[in-house]
Symmetry: C2
Subunit: 345 residues, 2 copies
């Protein structure tokens, strides 16, 4: 049974409707099947549509502790990015899905996304430990190469977070991934006539943008309840503050500080519904020093005050996410809860 | 691990490429997840494209022994068809997926297929026994209603073939089904401008056609190795021989006797590769009385004689369907084997 996951609530609340099933399917693969999903965009096809971009955004880079540790070193971060070109070449040579291993020893299925024969990107699903010995060699070699990374720490992180999802084989996930790849290919075919197709020269540029964007979003998710500075955030993303601000605004349509506030307000909504903490405690718990400022931001984003929100909706959150949801009637048309319309049989 | 299923081989061999992932995903749900899948077409959107029709054709009606027993009575066959209108109405009233039960006591998830708000059809996934008592009441009531059906036989068939797939919950299948429904909706949006959209008056006409077509295909599959007459086939489909011939030709592009031969030749290919029987035995085993006629038909369809086919490809069939397939180089461009390109990790 799926647990109510705070990060999932954030994503759902931010989602438009057009590609909701795409986003929901990716979350299902991640949360229920235990997969690490990463969408690679070889030609910049994702940002041509805002809603598609929104649906795929949480899945544009690996953000597990092992990968983040490897990528904390700038040279290895660049190596990770350069994997995209290798993958592009291999997808070009391989007619269909293949199984591959990255420079840091992670094994994943790579499902190409094509449209009318043109290679657009790939859906990568990991991690499967099919040759642990080879993975160990790669991790040690990667860390040994004149870097501040500690091989033993990398191995510890690998062992604790990289594992074949229990009871899941390729045959359980590939038909769905190939269906999704065809859906994305068809989506591009539909969008292309009415959107600017990215030029060849932007081919890998977008992929690096995707990685920065995903890292920024992940950093904000992990640190939303604490203190977030642009300096720390841009260091985490291996780019300048101004470049980060620019691509974040262009891709999400909002400034980083607005986005941080939105994430914090989503967290606050959960606290309001699930805890008995008072408003000041909740404000502090989601990174606001000033409870009055918190209330203003909350009212601005949600349309009603935190107190009013709690009064109206507390007790309405379904404890079983598969149970008939009681949709809150909010002033703004947005979906609030993760859950199915269907009672389990 | 999936078993090599003869009927699956037939379907793959007949498939064009455009909607291969749709067909593969439906077969995955049926063969690996143990679901009974049925696609309902409320407005005739499936036949507007030959390849889409081909991909969905095996899934247009329930053909399990229980349903076939109930539908063997013409009144109940009509009741099954009339369920489509009820389902259409319910899909119109319900914003998303729901769980429903048919007049004969079968419970299934119903996932609406929409395009720009228009309801096109639904994907039904069963069977889940969420209220066996209620199912029993419905089965007994259905069989008691002035028909030649035997309630005890119906119950026996229900108990032997209708069951909740082991370990599968709604949460395991709904994200994929909703993705597929969106994919089909988008497919219709793409095809509509270049295809004749069916008129409102044909709304349920097509659904009845779908059911007849699926029943005919199922009957041929079940009886391919025996004797098939048009009289038996049309009686099984509750329609006249001429009507059956007409819609079969229109939807599949070939005459029924040609289709029967194609199915028999697919079966023969398996026998040639997997058994040591001689050509005359194989011909008899797949419904041909005359081995010379069998050889002529085989050569005509496959491009080489049965003996030559066995010589070239015997021993090449992968014993593990997930293993790297060794594609046979056939004179005609068609895929022969069920299998993934990927070695299991």
């Amino acid at each position: 049974m799926m647990k109510l996951d705070k990060s999932a609530v954030c994503e759902v609340a931010f989602m438009s409707t057009s590609y909701k099933s795409v986003n929901a399917y990716l979350r299902f693969l991640r949360d229920r099947m235990g997969l690490h999903i990463c969408i690679k965009d070889f030609c910049g096809f994702i940002p041509i549509n805002k809603e598609l971009d929104e649906a795929l955004r949480p899945f544009l880079a690996h953000t597990n502790p092992f990968c983040m540790y490897i990528k904390s070193d700038q040279d290895h971060y660049r190596d990770c990015l350069s994997m995209i070109r290798l993958m592009y070449n291999k997808c070009g040579r391989t007619p269909g899905t293949y199984f591959g291993m990255c420079h840091a020893g992670l094994g994943e299925y790579v499902v190409p996304i094509r449209s009318d024969g043109t290679l657009l990107g790939s859906i990568n699903a990991g991690f499967f430990q099919f040759d642990e010995g080879r993975s160990m060699v790669r991790i040690r070699r990667t860390c040994a190469r004149h870097t501040p990374l500690d091989g033993e720490e990398a191995l510890r992180l690998y062992r604790s977070c990289i594992r074949t999802p229990e009871g899941v084989a390729g045959a359980d996930i590939l038909p769905g991934l190939e269906l999704l790849a065809d859906f994305l290919g068809q989506t591009y075919r539909m969008l292309r006539p009415t959107h600017n197709t990215p030029s060849q020269s932007r081919r890998y540029h977008n992929s690096s943008e995707d990685t920065i964007l995903t890292h920024a979003i992940e950093y904000i998710r992990l640190n939303a309840s604490g203190h977030i500075t642009m300096a720390d955030l841009s260091r985490f993303c291996h780019c300048s503050e101004s470049y980060l601000s620019r691509i974040f605004k262009r891709r999400t349509g909002i400034n980083i500080n607005v986005y941080v506030n939105k994430v914090r307000i989503e967290l606050a909504k959960n606290h309001l519904l699930l805890s008995s903490e008072n408003i000041a405690e909740i404000a502090a718990g989601v990174g606001f020093n000033d409870p009055n400022y918190f209330s203003r931001v909350f009212t601005n984003i949600i349309g009603i005050s935190p107190t009013e929100f709690r009064r109206r909706f507390q007790g309405q959150l379904p404890s079983n996410p598969e149970a008939e949801p009681q949709e809150p009637v909010l002033p703004q048309p947005r979906r609030e809860f993760v859950g199915h319309r269907i009672p389990p049989p």
